[in-house]
Subunit: 188 residues, 2 copies
């Protein structure tokens, strides 16, 4: 059998697209092979089995999601306040943000019923919250309070993508502006 | 054929359980009939087809989710501050809250790929946010600001159930206490 000219990434991309459109149960080797117009056998040049492919999908997402954050936070010398403003505006960054949100919601839906996906989501959530907490620490908030503020900011981001149909564009702007003032507000 | 002794509610309960455990694609009349140990035909005493059952599942959830809110907000003369504190503590109300969260996350996952479920979720989100906004209005916040604060409180609630694995019980308490202070804080 001739070696397939597809790369592992092609299978991962195809699997991710099916995951988004039809859910995890539809991500099956036979269906993907048909969609990619290759033999089912060629799949096994790249992956041991379906689970191996699913793990690759999760690793790809986790690395991209984490790298993004690291790049944003460590790659340059921005002020914590600027970083926080940027984080809050993340859900509104056009088509790239929309696509990222669709992948993420699909993986969260999958994680509801799968330990592998659950572990990846938990790790990504924990790392993002930890980075955001560092920002608040840099602004002088105490450790525990920085962590709480980071959770609230992150909760807003996650919910903004889940509740994207609530409110007009102007209302979304208002609530993101209010959140920014509140998470930075000193109480007492 | 003898009329089934099952009630429509039995089918709805069984369908909801399968939805939570195995996702919407597994909610099929033949599988439910087998699980309930009745004939497939008896299903049609109660429902026109699968979609009819799914609509009943959504209606049941929507009514319960809305009624809950109405009861909480209109059924008694509690202070807006008390109501807000109660809302913030909702995710931590033990097993009933856990079960409600599991149903809701399952329906949100389903809504990602289905217009019927999407409409039900959007309606529930909108009604809850509107009620919470009324609370903030009652506390003297201007219309637009009340709506933004309501969204932020609701975003926290939704995210707290989605991110339930992040943080210890003590940390969850800290962040819910902080949220309560922040959403009630007057800025400037």
């Amino acid at each position: 059998m001739p070696r397939s000219t597809l790369l592992p990434e092609d299978w991962i991309t195809a699997a991710t697209a099916v995951l988004i459109d039809r859910g995890i149960d539809a991500v099956r080797v036979d269906l993907l092979a048909r969609e990619l117009a290759v033999t089912r056998g060629s799949f096994y040049w790249h992956f041991k089995d379906r689970e191996d492919l699913l793990q690759a999908v999760l690793n790809g997402w986790r690395d991209a999601a984490t790298e993004q954050v690291i790049h944003r936070f460590e790659g340059r010398q921005a002020e914590p306040r600027t970083l926080i403003a940027e984080l809050i505006s993340l859900p509104f960054r056009g088509r790239a943000a929309e696509r990222a949100a669709r992948i993420e919601l699909a993986i969260r839906a999958w994680a509801r019923r799968d330990a592998l996906a659950r572990a990846a989501v938990d790790e990504v959530d924990a790392r993002r919250i930890a980075y955001i907490a560092q920002c608040f620490s840099a602004l002088g908030f105490a450790i525990a309070e920085a962590r709480s503020r980071a959770f609230l900011l992150y909760a807003y981001e996650v919910a903004e993508s889940l509740l994207a149909r609530q409110g007009t564009a102007a209302q979304k702007k208002e609530r993101s502006a209010l959140l920014q003032r509140l998470v930075l507000a000193r109480l007492d």
